[in-house]
């Protein structure tokens, strides 16, 4: 379980995160939703160790093994930032980079095998020798997901993994993330903008508004009242085929 306990973060006097407290379970995709600038990315960066929170704690604990620790310090987290221009390296090298903590200079056999495994998990073995700067947006996101998997994470942190992707790739990416979360039984927290993608694939919803937790629940948190208040919109929620669909008027 990953526990956020009273997390505070500020960028030059402006509070970006205020008293964030929630927990995420392994095997269940947790969607982080909220309007632009609400603090989703900052929260993920704090968990990934990219930013240091000003107060509060992030703790990983595993009741089965009795492990309790700061997940980033132990190398338990893998973080996928928002999409950006890739350098001109090969896909294999990009994924191998996930093994950085385990390598000195040379990649050992185990590192290569873990890399190959991650490449197969992310379904990108057909582009493994291509150069990253020649890939489409969808392929590139999968490469970065594969690199995160090569880190053998216990906590997977994804910042808008479906941004800039077309419909088919959005769905493929979300399916992949959901399957991996369940198959490897890891804790996955993903910041997602598209409510319908979140509704379809996530098992838990953490809504953030102005740096504070607004709602924290399962699918029952997706109500007209919550969506309207969160995004200042007028929405309708329909039940279709046993699932919910969010429509904005």
């Amino acid at each position: 379980m990953l526990v956020f306990e009273g997390l505070f973060f500020r960028y030059s006097r402006r509070d970006v995160l205020e008293n964030i407290t929630f927990s995420a379970q392994p095997g269940k995709l947790c969607a982080l939703v909220g309007p632009n600038g609400c603090g989703k990315s900052t929260l993920l960066k704090c968990a990934a160790g990219v930013l240091a929170p000003h107060a509060g704690a992030i703790e990983y604990n595993d009741p089965a093994s009795g492990v309790k620790c700061r997940p980033h310090a132990e190398g338990f987290t893998a973080y996928m930032p928002q999409a950006q221009a890739p350098p001109p390296c090969s896909v294999f090298d990009a994924v191998l980079l996930g093994r950085r903590r385990h390598m000195n200079f040379r990649a050992r056999k185990k590192d290569l095998e873990k890399t190959e495994e991650a490449i197969h998990l992310a379904c990108i073995s057909d582009i493994a020798m291509k150069r990253c700067d020649n890939l489409s947006g969808g392929e590139l996101q999968k490469v970065i997901l594969a690199r995160s998997l090569a880190q053998e994470p216990k906590v997977l942190l994804l910042d808008e993994p479906t941004n800039h992707l077309d419909l088919k790739n959005q769905v493929e990416m979300m399916k992949l993330i959901k399957n991996i979360t369940e198959k490897l039984n890891i804790i996955t927290i993903a910041a997602i903008h598209d409510m319908n993608l979140a509704v379809k694939y996530a098992a838990k919803f953490v809504m953030i508004k102005n740096g504070k937790i607004f709602a924290d629940s399962n699918i029952s948190a997706v109500t007209k009242e919550n969506i309207d208040s969160l995004y200042s919109v007028d929405s309708k929620i329909y039940d279709i085929d046993g699932g919910k669909i969010v429509v904005i008027n």
């Binding site: 350098p87 090969s90 294999f92 990009a94 980079l97 950085r100 200079f105 095998e113």
Partner: protein, 356 residues
């Protein structure tokens, strides 16, 4: 989707092997250039003489004297200065996120020129008539020491700035521009009040020339270079991570700030050592890494070492041209690298697909 199960690692190994072959080619070119540098000169001697002198360590007469006292220090200086500038350029471009960055970007060369001018103008009485004689008359280390100190002032200022405030890569480059301009102005101010001889000595110093370095100077350059190079190589994966941006690197466990500062410190130190002893040699730190990038893309496991090899080759080849173009007159190698470098660099920019 094609099923390529199991053969991914094999194709990766093949790609790695082709990169090693590139390295072998550069090493071979470097070896040939070094051999040519041993053989070429005003003193006529065949390969046999040179080889015998090389293996016998006899520096008393004939080919042995010329080899061990003139050609060997010159060749080693060209190779190590080139290697230092090439590898320092490669890592600087990474941590400053700028394909045109070299340690000179943050004010090393102007700082060194300021120090050298200071030493030449204020620390020496000129009785001799010709600038090169006056230059030769000075204590060999006083100019180098002041040039090194000048370069270190630039480095210290930049590092203090990046530690004091959260200055990113662009901030470092802008601070370098400011420092370059400041030191340039100070140097010109000193030169304005200098005598003709002092002025020409100061100018003469700025022409990079690998013939200036003897074994003592070489020892300093090699020591500083070896330490910095060992660090650069040991951080290969961190540089690869940083190619993906600060956040990705931090997420992978890289201490980005420490890496950036240590790298700039070491790259500045090697460039300061090179500049202090042989003068300003431009373009090697740009040409070598960008040529290597064509073959190994952005992989720092190869890029740093190959940039060192190719930098060494570039400077050796340039020095051969400098020695032969207007023989028996020997040109300063800095002029050749600038001459050959500018068009070659433009060619790489136009042909390259990196979107620089």
């Amino acid at each position: 989707m094609k099923n390529l199960e199991g053969c991914v690692i094999e194709s990766y190994a093949a790609a790695g092997a082709s990169k090693l072959i590139t390295g072998a080619f550069i090493a071979l070119a470097l070896f040939c250039a070094a051999a040519a540098s041993f053989l070429y000169g005003q003193f006529e001697c065949g390969p046999g003489d040179v080889f015998r002198a090389l293996v016998s360590f006899d520096d008393t007469a004939g080919a042995g004297y010329v080899l061990w006292n003139l050609r060997m220090p010159r060749t080693l200086a060209a190779a190590f200065c080139g290697a230092a500038l090439g590898s320092a350029g490669a890592v600087t471009q990474n941590v400053l996120k700028n394909p045109l960055a070299t340690p000179f970007t943050i004010g090393i060369s102007q700082g060194a020129a300021f120090g050298a001018s200071f030493a030449i103008i204020f620390l020496k009485n000129y009785s001799s008539a010709s600038p090169s004689a006056a230059y030769a008359q000075m204590h060999p280390y006083s100019i180098a020491f002041c040039a090194f100190a000048g370069a270190l002032i630039s480095t210290a200022f930049i590092l203090a700035l990046s530690g004091f405030k959260n200055v990113g890569p662009l901030g470092l480059i802008l601070a370098g521009v400011a420092l370059n301009s400041l030191f340039g102005a100070l140097t010109m101010l000193m030169q304005y009040f200098a005598t003709d001889i002092q002025l020409s000595s100061a100018l003469f110093w700025t022409f990079g020339d690998v013939g200036k370095a003897g074994y003592g100077e070489l020892a300093v350059i090699v020591t500083v270079f070896s330490l910095a190079f060992a660090y650069f190589i040991s951080k290969s994966w961190d540089y690869n991570a940083l190619e993906w941006g600060d956040e990705t690197a931090a997420g992978l466990g890289v201490n980005v700030k420490r890496l950036r500062i240590t790298t700039m410190l070491l790259a500045s130190l090697v460039s300061a050592a090179v500049t202090a002893f042989v003068g300003v040699i431009g373009f090697v730190g740009l040409i070598a890494p960008h040529t290597v990038r064509i073959f190994v893309a952005g992989d720092y496991r190869y890029l740093t070492a190959y940039s060192a090899l190719l930098g060494a080759f570039t400077l050796l080849a340039s020095d051969l041209i400098a020695r032969s173009a207007l023989a028996p007159q020997v040109l300063p190698v800095g002029i050749v690298t600038a001459f050959a470098g500018a068009p070659l660099f433009l060619y790489i920019l136009i042909k390259g697909d990196r979107g620089i």
